[in-house]
Point group: C2
Chain length 438, copies 2
């Protein structure tokens, strides 16, 4: 099957574990069998691979997420990189053009469009496979996945069907009804709209050409910033008459808030945590390297990262967004394709970070206009290139680099550095990249 | 008046704001009129000075607290330094010998012995002055301060008196009675024992010579580690027949737990804190440089420092000690006579700290056996001495020092360094001091 995973999301609703770079799908919170933790994107990716090892998986993501995706899924993953945020219509069109023009997939084949973060078991992906097959039959232009409701939710969209069958024609869409109306819909066999659908690649490209003037993927990428911010629902689904829906009756969860996310945690605590037995319904996720102690609390979620510490009543944890907006949004940690970094000190004219390079990886060859840097290697081995000069580096070595100097570091083993940045105008945007011939 | 402030205390009950170096009396939590915060020891010191600007104030403290005392009260404060922890009898005798032999106070004068951390107003110290005067009359050998009880507490000691007068003879001591018995005592005019008393200097020295074989202060200091661990109550008070008590009716609070401490806070939050209006009876003290957000909590204290983060039901905050014992006790921050430091990263074979030197101050001239160090100055100006060589230092400068190399730094302005320690056995005890001739 061909599947596009839509990776969007902001850093606010799961603050402080998410930030402007790490959206919720990259938080490692799900325990694997080997005891390590994986993120939503890793979990979904591996689930799809298990159901169809030959699946053509493309992740549609803004460019800010590319490093994190490479870090979590490896270098060989196909990513349709959005140069800026538009809405789902441009994002889906770009990804499908990528599939057609870059990956050379036949336009008569179907593609499944799915968010990157459903919390589901493998049966869900088995159903996705059927969804793709159904789209290829051509019985309808679009085939949606409808989720059998488990309660009259007021926060989902409902799909009303012409018949109570596994596959049925869609008669109407209803957004977020009140509880009573939702009950009526459910009585009529309505399904939740999980935002998942399949269609032929050709169908999306045809719709795209109706609305956007472009030739191919490269041209579309070039024009991306000028595309209108419209949703796929608005641009396509609402206008389409020939839509079917495929009923899915298995488990499906939308883990968008701390409250729902902690329900999916296997253990009550992750990280260095001390919790006493007077606590009930308390979840603690601690990504700091200092301990958190919870004493005598009830119905509370505690989460901590270098961005900050949240302590919230679980019920109220869905209302944190306006408070997060009040807080300085400087990114304090990030996963990069080559490893990770975290800010450990912010001074008036300095910034100190801890950098971890994964074995065999390297940073871009780059320079900064407005800052000097001092690197102190604290563990591991590798090699640095500074203004073209190659030099070995290992724990204890110190490098100083003036503004303008081009530099990179290549890790042989895992390599950790303390990097002190010095200057009046320190900014993550102050970075020029250069090609490097090794 | 001559007053000895007993500065003891462990780092456990007010974790994480206290640690093995910073006992509760050094936590800056009380708002001054100028908007800054002061600690218990600063508050008490300034209250005494206000009541008696010529008071001879000596702080009896273990050597681990000396840096913090100098940092908070200046270099000229008199400290009777306990080389190790004994109990109150040796500590009081040492301080009184210091008063007699080092400060040359007449042994016929009285001395007031008082804990460093009562939460009181100035009337309390007016009463202390009277206590000293009463001791000098010689009507009794010891004069205690008795606090008028405000409720039948089960956690204090009670002083039973012969009469309900302002000054009366003590008839009996009763430790921590149950509530009913406490009510009976209060009905009889009993007072709480706040651990404060006055007597002539001579009286304590005479008692000391009865129990300890020593000549003078220096000799006592030398023998200090061999002295028995006994309390002043056990060694002296319980055996003394001639004791008076002076009644104090003003406000007096013992701020020993998070619950009682937060009651004395003027504001509900200190530090970078976001709290929503659904919170009630919540106090947050945040000494980290990342924000804390509290949403929908009730009756909770949150406190955070580089040691860790505590979130506790207020009622239960007095029971944290056994949980603190489970946590690694590495000191993550401290105030030193020359400034302060905090640990910002702990590696397998490295430790990175941020050092702040106050203007005009310097570290000891010292070396380390088992670690190399790299210093990166991030703000300010000063001068370093490395193996006798003097050199100016300012923001951006880097110094590397091999194990064994003697070094110090002297701050002209406030000077901040990132110090990376590198070695297999990094320990705060790995330090040799050397005299430095400037």
């Amino acid at each position: 099957m061909n599947i596009v995973l839509l990776s969007g999301g902001s850093g606010e609703r799961l603050w402080p574990l998410s930030n402007d770079i790490r959206s919720k799908q990259f938080i490692k919170i799900f325990k694997r069998k080997d005891g390590d933790y994986e993120s939503m994107v890793q979990r979904v990716y591996h689930q799809i691979r298990k159901v169809d090892e030959n699946a053509m998986i493309t992740i549609a993501a803004p460019k800010t997420q590319v490093s994190a995706i490479h870090n979590q899924l490896g270098e060989n993953i196909d990513i349709s990189i959005e140069p800026c945020r538009r809405d789902t219509f441009p994002a889906i069109v770009l990804a499908v053009a990528y599939l057609r023009d870059m990956l050379k997939v036949n336009a008569e084949e179907s593609v499944i469009i799915c968010p990157v973060d459903p919390y589901v078991d493998e049966r869900y992906f088995e159903t996705l496979k059927e969804l793709g097959k159904q789209a290829e039959t051509g019985e309808a232009n679009l085939v949606l996945m409808g989720i059998e409701p488990t309660y009259p939710s007021e926060k989902y969209g409902y799909i009303l069907t012409e018949a109570r069958k596994d596959i049925s024609k869609v008669s109407m869409f209803k957004e977020k009804p009140d509880k009573e109306t939702a009950e009526t819909y459910i009585g009529q066999g309505a399904l939740w709209n999980g935002g998942v659908f399949a269609c032929k690649i050709k169908y999306i490209l045809d719709k795209a050409h109706e609305l956007i003037d472009f030739t191919d993927y490269q041209d579309l990428l070039y024009r991306y910033e000028t595309l209108p911010k419209i949703s796929f629902d608005y641009a396509v689904v609402e206008k389409e008459k020939e839509i079917q829906v495929l009923r899915f009756t298995g488990e499906w969860k939308d883990l968008g808030t701390w409250n729902t996310l902690t329900e999916a945690m296997e253990e009550e605590c992750i990280g260095e945590v001390v919790i006493n037995d007077k606590c009930s319904n308390v979840h603690v996720i601690n990504e700091l390297d200092i301990p958190i102690m919870a004493i005598g609390l009830h119905d509370v979620v505690i989460s901590a990262s270098p961005q900050g510490v949240l302590i919230s009543d679980k019920e109220q944890s869905s209302y944190i967004k306006p408070f997060v907006d009040r807080i300085d949004r400087k990114v304090m940690f990030a996963e990069k394709s080559w490893g990770s970094f975290r800010v450990i000190d912010i001074g008036a004219e300095s910034l100190t970070i801890k950098v971890t390079l994964n074995p065999g990886h390297r940073m871009n060859y780059h320079s900064h206009k407005n800052r000097n840097e001092v690197w102190v290697a604290i563990s591991g081995k590798g090699c640095t290139i500074v203004d073209g000069m190659e030099q070995e580096i290992q724990a204890g070595d110190v490098l100083t680099m003036e503004a303008g100097c081009r530099h990179t570091v290549i890790a042989d083993t895992e390599l950790q550095l303390i990097e002190v940045q010095l200057g009046k105008e320190i900014s993550i945007h102050d970075k020029q990249k250069f090609p490097l011939e090794l």
